[in-house]
Amino acid sequence: MCDQTFMAITFGPCDNCSTTSPLMNIYIKNEPTNYCSFCVEMMACQGLLKGETLASLKNESESLKKKLEEERAKLHDVELHQVAEKIEVVSALSIKTRRVLKGHGNKVLCMDWCKDKRRLVSSSQDGKVIVWDGFTLNKEHAVPMPCTWVMACAYAPSGCAIACGGLDNKCSVYPLSLDKNENLAAKKKSVAMHTNYLSGCTFTNSDMQILTSSGDGTCALWDVESGQLLQSFHGHTADVLSLDLAPSETGNTFVSGGCDKKANVWDMRSGQNVQSFETHESDINCCRLYDLRADREVAVYQKDSIIFGVSSLDFSLSGRLLFGGYNDYTINIWDVLKGNRVSMLFGHENRVSTVKVSPDGTSVCSASWDNTLRVSRALGMPWLLVLYSLT
Protein backbone atom coordinates (compact mmCIF):
# COMPACT_ATOMS: atom_id res chain seq x y z
CA MET A 1 0.00 0.00 0.00
CA CYS A 2 1.21 3.48 -0.61
CA ASP A 3 -0.17 6.31 1.46
CA GLN A 4 0.56 9.79 2.70
CA THR A 5 0.47 8.67 6.35
CA PHE A 6 2.44 5.45 6.01
CA MET A 7 6.07 6.17 5.27
CA ALA A 8 7.60 2.69 5.50
CA ILE A 9 9.11 1.35 2.32
CA THR A 10 11.19 -1.50 3.69
CA PHE A 11 10.90 -4.09 6.41
CA GLY A 12 13.90 -5.25 8.33
CA PRO A 13 16.25 -4.57 11.23
CA CYS A 14 16.35 -0.96 12.40
CA ASP A 15 19.76 0.72 12.07
CA ASN A 16 19.47 1.97 15.64
CA CYS A 17 17.78 -0.62 17.81
CA SER A 18 18.02 -3.69 15.52
CA THR A 19 14.42 -4.76 16.04
CA THR A 20 12.74 -6.06 12.89
CA SER A 21 9.86 -3.79 11.92
CA PRO A 22 8.62 -1.50 9.12
CA LEU A 23 11.38 1.00 8.52
CA MET A 24 11.21 4.67 7.64
CA ASN A 25 13.77 5.75 5.09
CA ILE A 26 15.19 9.03 6.39
CA TYR A 27 18.26 11.16 5.80
CA ILE A 28 20.60 12.08 8.66
CA LYS A 29 23.18 14.65 7.50
CA ASN A 30 22.47 13.56 3.90
CA GLU A 31 23.16 9.94 4.72
CA PRO A 32 20.22 7.60 4.02
CA THR A 33 19.35 5.49 7.05
CA ASN A 34 16.55 3.15 7.99
CA TYR A 35 15.00 3.60 11.42
CA CYS A 36 11.89 2.03 12.84
CA SER A 37 9.14 4.52 13.63
CA PHE A 38 9.82 4.31 17.39
CA CYS A 39 13.45 5.32 16.97
CA VAL A 40 12.44 8.20 14.71
CA GLU A 41 10.14 9.55 17.43
CA MET A 42 12.89 9.09 20.04
CA MET A 43 15.30 11.01 17.83
CA ALA A 44 12.76 13.75 17.38
CA CYS A 45 12.41 14.12 21.17
CA GLN A 46 16.18 14.06 21.65
CA GLY A 47 16.49 16.84 19.09
CA LEU A 48 14.16 18.79 21.30
CA LEU A 49 16.43 18.30 24.33
CA LYS A 50 19.42 19.68 22.44
CA GLY A 51 17.68 23.01 22.13
CA GLU A 52 16.28 22.37 18.70
CA THR A 53 12.70 23.53 19.06
CA LEU A 54 9.91 23.60 16.57
CA ALA A 55 10.38 27.36 16.39
CA SER A 56 14.09 27.15 15.65
CA LEU A 57 13.47 24.58 12.92
CA LYS A 58 10.78 26.80 11.43
CA ASN A 59 13.17 29.75 11.47
CA GLU A 60 15.82 27.69 9.76
CA SER A 61 13.40 26.56 7.07
CA GLU A 62 12.30 30.17 6.46
CA SER A 63 15.88 31.36 6.13
CA LEU A 64 16.72 28.44 3.83
CA LYS A 65 13.74 29.28 1.63
CA LYS A 66 14.94 32.88 1.41
CA LYS A 67 18.43 31.74 0.57
CA LEU A 68 17.04 29.49 -2.17
CA GLU A 69 15.16 32.42 -3.68
CA GLU A 70 18.26 34.59 -3.62
CA GLU A 71 20.41 31.90 -5.22
CA ARG A 72 17.87 31.41 -7.96
CA ALA A 73 17.48 35.14 -8.54
CA LYS A 74 21.24 35.63 -8.90
CA LEU A 75 21.26 33.54 -12.06
CA HIS A 76 18.29 35.28 -13.60
CA ASP A 77 20.33 37.46 -15.92
CA VAL A 78 18.06 37.35 -18.94
CA GLU A 79 14.65 36.12 -20.07
CA LEU A 80 14.31 33.16 -22.45
CA HIS A 81 12.21 35.10 -24.95
CA GLN A 82 14.84 37.84 -25.08
CA VAL A 83 17.54 35.34 -26.00
CA ALA A 84 15.12 33.82 -28.51
CA GLU A 85 14.59 37.09 -30.36
CA LYS A 86 17.36 36.32 -32.80
CA ILE A 87 15.97 33.00 -34.05
CA GLU A 88 13.44 32.92 -36.81
CA VAL A 89 9.73 32.86 -36.21
CA VAL A 90 7.89 29.57 -36.55
CA SER A 91 6.38 29.53 -40.02
CA ALA A 92 2.63 29.14 -40.31
CA LEU A 93 1.66 25.67 -39.16
CA SER A 94 -0.70 23.60 -41.21
CA ILE A 95 -1.81 21.08 -38.62
CA LYS A 96 -5.20 19.59 -39.33
CA THR A 97 -7.34 16.94 -37.70
CA ARG A 98 -7.04 13.78 -39.74
CA ARG A 99 -8.90 11.20 -37.68
CA VAL A 100 -11.75 11.32 -35.21
CA LEU A 101 -11.99 8.23 -33.02
CA LYS A 102 -15.55 7.64 -31.89
CA GLY A 103 -16.69 4.81 -29.72
CA HIS A 104 -16.46 5.75 -26.09
CA GLY A 105 -19.77 6.16 -24.33
CA ASN A 106 -18.63 8.90 -22.04
CA LYS A 107 -15.81 11.41 -21.39
CA VAL A 108 -12.41 10.24 -22.56
CA LEU A 109 -10.08 10.92 -19.67
CA CYS A 110 -6.68 9.73 -20.80
CA MET A 111 -4.81 8.32 -23.76
CA ASP A 112 -1.37 7.04 -24.63
CA TRP A 113 0.49 6.20 -27.83
CA CYS A 114 2.10 2.87 -28.57
CA LYS A 115 5.77 2.94 -29.63
CA ASP A 116 4.70 1.65 -33.06
CA LYS A 117 3.32 5.19 -33.65
CA ARG A 118 -0.04 4.01 -34.89
CA ARG A 119 -1.82 2.33 -32.02
CA LEU A 120 -3.23 4.15 -29.07
CA VAL A 121 -5.01 3.27 -25.87
CA SER A 122 -7.70 5.46 -24.34
CA SER A 123 -9.70 5.26 -21.14
CA SER A 124 -13.04 6.74 -20.34
CA GLN A 125 -15.53 7.63 -17.64
CA ASP A 126 -17.74 4.82 -18.94
CA GLY A 127 -15.28 2.35 -17.48
CA LYS A 128 -13.92 1.10 -20.80
CA VAL A 129 -10.35 1.04 -22.04
CA ILE A 130 -10.05 0.81 -25.85
CA VAL A 131 -6.99 0.04 -27.95
CA TRP A 132 -7.28 1.69 -31.39
CA ASP A 133 -5.40 1.44 -34.63
CA GLY A 134 -4.95 5.15 -35.41
CA PHE A 135 -4.71 4.65 -39.18
CA THR A 136 -7.70 2.43 -39.78
CA LEU A 137 -9.85 3.53 -36.80
CA ASN A 138 -10.19 -0.14 -35.95
CA LYS A 139 -10.90 -0.91 -32.30
CA GLU A 140 -8.50 -3.72 -31.60
CA HIS A 141 -9.36 -4.37 -27.98
CA ALA A 142 -12.00 -3.13 -25.56
CA VAL A 143 -11.50 -3.89 -21.89
CA PRO A 144 -14.25 -3.24 -19.38
CA MET A 145 -12.95 -2.03 -16.03
CA PRO A 146 -14.77 -2.73 -12.78
CA CYS A 147 -14.91 0.98 -11.97
CA THR A 148 -15.96 4.12 -13.80
CA TRP A 149 -13.62 7.12 -14.22
CA VAL A 150 -10.59 5.31 -15.56
CA MET A 151 -8.36 8.35 -15.18
CA ALA A 152 -5.07 6.94 -16.32
CA CYS A 153 -3.90 4.58 -19.00
CA ALA A 154 -0.54 3.72 -20.49
CA TYR A 155 0.87 1.57 -23.27
CA ALA A 156 3.79 -0.73 -22.49
CA PRO A 157 7.00 -0.02 -24.46
CA SER A 158 6.82 -3.47 -26.06
CA GLY A 159 3.25 -2.85 -27.22
CA CYS A 160 2.18 -6.08 -25.57
CA ALA A 161 0.34 -4.73 -22.57
CA ILE A 162 -1.60 -1.77 -21.27
CA ALA A 163 -1.97 -0.38 -17.78
CA CYS A 164 -4.94 1.54 -16.46
CA GLY A 165 -6.64 2.64 -13.27
CA GLY A 166 -8.72 5.31 -11.64
CA LEU A 167 -11.31 5.34 -8.91
CA ASP A 168 -10.51 1.76 -8.00
CA ASN A 169 -7.26 3.12 -6.43
CA LYS A 170 -5.33 0.50 -8.34
CA CYS A 171 -3.25 0.27 -11.46
CA SER A 172 -3.87 -2.96 -13.36
CA VAL A 173 -1.88 -4.37 -16.24
CA TYR A 174 -3.59 -6.26 -19.08
CA PRO A 175 -1.43 -8.26 -21.49
CA LEU A 176 -2.76 -7.74 -25.03
CA SER A 177 -3.40 -10.91 -26.89
CA LEU A 178 -3.59 -11.34 -30.65
CA ASP A 179 -6.56 -13.62 -30.23
CA LYS A 180 -9.60 -11.38 -30.60
CA ASN A 181 -11.84 -13.80 -28.75
CA GLU A 182 -9.74 -13.95 -25.66
CA ASN A 183 -11.24 -12.24 -22.64
CA LEU A 184 -8.63 -9.67 -21.66
CA ALA A 185 -10.30 -8.90 -18.36
CA ALA A 186 -9.53 -12.43 -17.19
CA LYS A 187 -5.78 -11.90 -17.51
CA LYS A 188 -5.77 -8.71 -15.47
CA LYS A 189 -2.95 -8.24 -13.00
CA SER A 190 -3.31 -5.72 -10.18
CA VAL A 191 0.02 -4.04 -9.72
CA ALA A 192 -0.33 -0.82 -7.77
CA MET A 193 -2.42 -0.12 -4.71
CA HIS A 194 -2.96 3.38 -3.42
CA THR A 195 -5.28 4.70 -0.79
CA ASN A 196 -6.92 7.15 -3.14
CA TYR A 197 -7.66 7.46 -6.85
CA LEU A 198 -4.99 6.78 -9.44
CA SER A 199 -4.36 9.96 -11.41
CA GLY A 200 -1.51 8.89 -13.67
CA CYS A 201 0.52 5.88 -14.66
CA THR A 202 3.37 5.22 -17.03
CA PHE A 203 5.71 2.33 -17.78
CA THR A 204 9.37 3.10 -17.23
CA ASN A 205 11.81 2.08 -19.96
CA SER A 206 10.65 -1.52 -19.82
CA ASP A 207 7.46 -3.50 -19.37
CA MET A 208 8.67 -4.52 -15.93
CA GLN A 209 8.11 -1.39 -13.92
CA ILE A 210 5.27 1.08 -13.56
CA LEU A 211 5.30 4.53 -12.07
CA THR A 212 2.02 5.77 -10.61
CA SER A 213 0.68 8.99 -9.13
CA SER A 214 -2.30 9.18 -6.88
CA GLY A 215 -4.84 11.38 -5.14
CA ASP A 216 -3.30 10.20 -1.88
CA GLY A 217 -0.44 12.63 -2.48
CA THR A 218 2.24 10.11 -3.36
CA CYS A 219 3.90 8.62 -6.40
CA ALA A 220 5.19 5.08 -6.42
CA LEU A 221 7.33 2.73 -8.49
CA TRP A 222 6.10 -0.87 -8.75
CA ASP A 223 7.42 -4.14 -10.11
CA VAL A 224 4.83 -5.46 -12.56
CA GLU A 225 5.58 -9.15 -12.15
CA SER A 226 5.38 -9.31 -8.37
CA GLY A 227 3.25 -6.23 -7.65
CA GLN A 228 5.86 -5.18 -5.13
CA LEU A 229 6.34 -1.54 -4.17
CA LEU A 230 9.92 -0.67 -5.17
CA GLN A 231 10.04 2.97 -4.15
CA SER A 232 7.62 5.55 -2.88
CA PHE A 233 7.86 9.28 -3.31
CA HIS A 234 6.54 11.50 -0.54
CA GLY A 235 6.61 15.25 -0.55
CA HIS A 236 3.45 16.57 -2.15
CA THR A 237 1.00 17.94 0.36
CA ALA A 238 -2.06 17.40 -1.81
CA ASP A 239 -3.29 15.18 -4.65
CA VAL A 240 -0.72 14.41 -7.31
CA LEU A 241 -2.42 14.82 -10.66
CA SER A 242 0.20 14.03 -13.25
CA LEU A 243 3.65 12.68 -13.84
CA ASP A 244 6.19 12.34 -16.64
CA LEU A 245 9.47 10.50 -17.02
CA ALA A 246 12.69 12.15 -18.12
CA PRO A 247 13.23 11.23 -21.78
CA SER A 248 16.73 9.83 -21.50
CA GLU A 249 17.07 6.05 -21.64
CA THR A 250 19.58 5.98 -18.83
CA GLY A 251 17.73 8.63 -16.91
CA ASN A 252 16.07 7.86 -13.66
CA THR A 253 14.24 11.03 -12.79
CA PHE A 254 10.65 12.00 -13.22
CA VAL A 255 8.50 15.02 -12.49
CA SER A 256 5.13 15.10 -10.77
CA GLY A 257 2.59 17.89 -10.50
CA GLY A 258 0.10 18.26 -7.70
CA CYS A 259 -2.78 20.26 -6.33
CA ASP A 260 -0.33 21.89 -3.94
CA LYS A 261 0.76 23.92 -7.02
CA LYS A 262 4.19 22.29 -6.97
CA ALA A 263 6.11 20.48 -9.65
CA ASN A 264 8.57 18.11 -7.99
CA VAL A 265 11.49 16.38 -9.65
CA TRP A 266 12.34 12.99 -8.11
CA ASP A 267 15.27 10.58 -8.22
CA MET A 268 13.69 7.17 -8.91
CA ARG A 269 16.36 5.15 -7.16
CA SER A 270 16.54 6.98 -3.86
CA GLY A 271 13.03 8.37 -3.65
CA GLN A 272 14.55 11.76 -2.99
CA ASN A 273 12.84 14.95 -4.09
CA VAL A 274 15.72 16.66 -5.87
CA GLN A 275 14.05 19.85 -7.08
CA SER A 276 10.78 21.60 -6.51
CA PHE A 277 9.10 24.44 -8.42
CA GLU A 278 6.28 26.44 -7.00
CA THR A 279 5.31 29.52 -8.96
CA HIS A 280 1.84 28.61 -10.14
CA GLU A 281 -0.63 30.90 -8.53
CA SER A 282 -3.93 29.10 -8.68
CA ASP A 283 -5.71 26.45 -10.69
CA ILE A 284 -3.57 26.27 -13.74
CA ASN A 285 -4.62 28.60 -16.54
CA CYS A 286 -1.19 29.20 -17.91
CA CYS A 287 1.75 26.98 -18.78
CA ARG A 288 5.14 27.52 -17.23
CA LEU A 289 8.53 26.30 -18.37
CA TYR A 290 11.10 25.47 -15.70
CA ASP A 291 14.72 24.88 -16.61
CA LEU A 292 16.17 22.15 -14.39
CA ARG A 293 19.77 23.28 -14.63
CA ALA A 294 18.96 26.93 -13.93
CA ASP A 295 16.52 25.70 -11.28
CA ARG A 296 13.89 28.33 -12.06
CA GLU A 297 10.97 29.29 -14.20
CA VAL A 298 12.15 30.61 -17.55
CA ALA A 299 8.93 31.17 -19.49
CA VAL A 300 5.19 31.59 -19.01
CA TYR A 301 2.69 30.85 -21.78
CA GLN A 302 -0.48 32.81 -21.26
CA LYS A 303 -2.78 35.32 -22.88
CA ASP A 304 -5.41 37.59 -21.40
CA SER A 305 -7.95 36.12 -23.80
CA ILE A 306 -7.37 32.65 -22.40
CA ILE A 307 -9.37 32.38 -19.22
CA PHE A 308 -9.84 28.64 -19.02
CA GLY A 309 -7.49 26.23 -17.37
CA VAL A 310 -5.14 23.91 -19.21
CA SER A 311 -5.45 20.25 -18.32
CA SER A 312 -2.67 18.63 -20.27
CA LEU A 313 0.33 19.47 -22.40
CA ASP A 314 3.07 17.93 -24.50
CA PHE A 315 6.08 19.08 -26.51
CA SER A 316 6.65 18.46 -30.20
CA LEU A 317 9.65 16.34 -31.17
CA SER A 318 12.18 19.17 -31.30
CA GLY A 319 10.73 20.89 -28.29
CA ARG A 320 9.95 24.04 -30.24
CA LEU A 321 6.18 23.66 -30.04
CA LEU A 322 4.09 23.18 -26.92
CA PHE A 323 0.58 21.75 -27.31
CA GLY A 324 -1.82 22.59 -24.48
CA GLY A 325 -5.30 21.14 -24.08
CA TYR A 326 -7.64 23.68 -22.52
CA ASN A 327 -11.01 23.60 -20.81
CA ASP A 328 -12.40 25.96 -23.47
CA TYR A 329 -12.39 22.98 -25.87
CA THR A 330 -9.37 24.17 -27.85
CA ILE A 331 -5.72 23.24 -28.17
CA ASN A 332 -3.31 26.15 -28.14
CA ILE A 333 0.07 25.70 -29.80
CA TRP A 334 2.83 27.83 -28.27
CA ASP A 335 6.31 28.70 -29.48
CA VAL A 336 8.36 27.43 -26.55
CA LEU A 337 11.30 29.78 -27.11
CA LYS A 338 9.57 33.02 -28.06
CA GLY A 339 6.58 32.54 -25.75
CA ASN A 340 3.83 33.49 -28.18
CA ARG A 341 0.89 31.46 -29.38
CA VAL A 342 1.48 30.14 -32.88
CA SER A 343 -1.75 28.39 -33.70
CA MET A 344 -4.93 26.79 -32.38
CA LEU A 345 -6.70 23.53 -33.05
CA PHE A 346 -10.47 23.45 -32.93
CA GLY A 347 -12.98 20.69 -33.20
CA HIS A 348 -13.64 19.26 -29.80
CA GLU A 349 -17.06 19.90 -28.35
CA ASN A 350 -16.07 19.70 -24.72
CA ARG A 351 -12.97 20.22 -22.65
CA VAL A 352 -9.73 18.56 -23.74
CA SER A 353 -8.53 16.12 -21.10
CA THR A 354 -5.26 14.81 -22.57
CA VAL A 355 -2.88 15.89 -25.33
CA LYS A 356 -0.02 13.66 -26.47
CA VAL A 357 2.42 13.83 -29.34
CA SER A 358 3.16 10.51 -31.04
CA PRO A 359 6.58 8.87 -30.46
CA ASP A 360 7.83 9.83 -33.94
CA GLY A 361 6.51 13.37 -33.59
CA THR A 362 4.27 13.21 -36.66
CA SER A 363 0.89 13.40 -34.96
CA VAL A 364 -0.74 14.85 -31.90
CA CYS A 365 -3.71 13.11 -30.33
CA SER A 366 -6.22 14.85 -28.11
CA ALA A 367 -8.79 13.18 -25.89
CA SER A 368 -11.86 15.06 -24.78
CA TRP A 369 -14.93 15.06 -22.61
CA ASP A 370 -16.92 15.04 -25.86
CA ASN A 371 -16.33 11.23 -25.95
CA THR A 372 -13.94 11.39 -28.90
CA LEU A 373 -10.25 11.45 -29.67
CA ARG A 374 -8.77 13.44 -32.52
CA VAL A 375 -5.50 12.76 -34.27
CA SER A 376 -3.98 15.79 -36.00
CA ARG A 377 -1.07 16.03 -38.38
CA ALA A 378 0.76 18.66 -40.34
CA LEU A 379 -0.18 18.99 -43.99
CA GLY A 380 2.68 18.18 -46.33
CA MET A 381 4.26 21.20 -47.89
CA PRO A 382 4.25 19.93 -51.51
CA TRP A 383 0.57 19.13 -51.15
CA LEU A 384 -0.19 22.72 -50.22
CA LEU A 385 1.66 23.98 -53.28
CA VAL A 386 -0.38 21.72 -55.52
CA LEU A 387 -3.61 23.08 -54.04
CA TYR A 388 -2.58 26.65 -54.65
CA SER A 389 -1.68 26.02 -58.22
CA LEU A 390 -5.09 24.53 -58.97
CA THR A 391 -7.11 27.50 -57.70
Partner: protein
Protein backbone atom coordinates in the same frame (compact mmCIF):
# COMPACT_ATOMS: atom_id res chain seq x y z
CA UNK B 1 -4.48 15.07 4.01
CA UNK B 2 -4.57 14.10 7.67
CA UNK B 3 -2.73 16.43 10.03
CA UNK B 4 -0.96 14.98 13.00
CA UNK B 5 -1.09 16.94 16.24
CA UNK B 6 1.52 15.27 18.49
CA UNK B 7 4.39 17.74 18.85
CA UNK B 8 7.13 15.19 18.18
CA UNK B 9 5.60 14.50 14.76
CA UNK B 10 5.67 18.21 13.97
CA UNK B 11 9.34 18.25 14.89
CA UNK B 12 10.01 15.30 12.62
CA UNK B 13 8.11 17.01 9.84
CA UNK B 14 9.91 20.33 10.39
CA UNK B 15 13.25 18.55 10.43
CA UNK B 16 12.41 16.79 7.17
CA UNK B 17 11.49 20.14 5.61
CA UNK B 18 14.76 21.69 6.74
CA UNK B 19 16.67 18.67 5.44
CA UNK B 20 14.90 18.92 2.08
CA UNK B 21 15.58 22.65 1.82
CA UNK B 22 19.25 22.15 2.66
CA UNK B 23 19.53 19.68 -0.20
CA UNK B 24 17.75 22.00 -2.58
CA UNK B 25 19.83 25.01 -1.56
CA UNK B 26 22.99 23.04 -2.21
CA UNK B 27 22.40 22.01 -5.82
CA UNK B 28 24.46 23.55 -8.60
CA UNK B 29 22.74 26.00 -10.89
CA UNK B 30 23.64 27.62 -14.19
CA UNK B 31 22.67 31.02 -15.52
CA UNK B 32 19.44 31.47 -17.42
CA UNK B 33 21.38 32.89 -20.39
CA UNK B 34 23.36 29.67 -20.72
CA UNK B 35 20.27 27.50 -20.18
CA UNK B 36 18.34 29.50 -22.80
CA UNK B 37 21.18 29.23 -25.31
CA UNK B 38 21.24 25.47 -24.82
CA UNK B 39 17.46 25.24 -25.26
CA UNK B 40 17.68 27.26 -28.48
CA UNK B 41 20.49 25.10 -29.85
CA UNK B 42 18.57 21.94 -29.14
CA UNK B 43 15.44 23.26 -30.85
CA UNK B 44 17.39 24.42 -33.91
CA UNK B 45 19.23 21.14 -34.28
CA UNK B 46 16.12 19.03 -34.04
CA UNK B 47 13.71 21.45 -35.67
CA UNK B 48 14.43 20.17 -39.17
CA UNK B 49 13.27 16.70 -38.16
CA UNK B 50 10.17 17.84 -36.36
CA UNK B 51 7.22 16.76 -38.52
CA UNK B 52 4.70 18.97 -36.74
CA UNK B 53 6.93 21.99 -37.20
CA UNK B 54 7.92 21.63 -40.86
CA UNK B 55 5.30 19.28 -42.24
CA UNK B 56 5.84 16.00 -44.04
CA UNK B 57 5.59 15.27 -47.76
CA UNK B 58 2.14 14.05 -48.78
CA UNK B 59 3.57 10.80 -50.10
CA UNK B 60 4.67 9.84 -46.60
CA UNK B 61 1.48 10.85 -44.89
CA UNK B 62 -0.50 7.71 -44.03
CA UNK B 63 -3.27 9.86 -42.63
CA UNK B 64 -4.00 11.77 -45.81
CA UNK B 65 -7.52 11.65 -47.12
CA UNK B 66 -7.90 8.87 -49.62
CA UNK B 67 -8.96 9.99 -53.07
CA UNK B 68 -11.29 7.77 -55.07
CA UNK B 69 -9.29 5.86 -57.65
CA UNK B 70 -10.44 5.46 -61.20
CA UNK B 71 -9.54 2.42 -63.20
CA UNK B 72 -8.56 3.45 -66.67
Amino acid sequence: MSSKTPSSNNIAHARRTVQQLRIEAGIERIKVSKASADLMNYCSEHGRNDPLLVGIPASENPFKDKKPCTIL
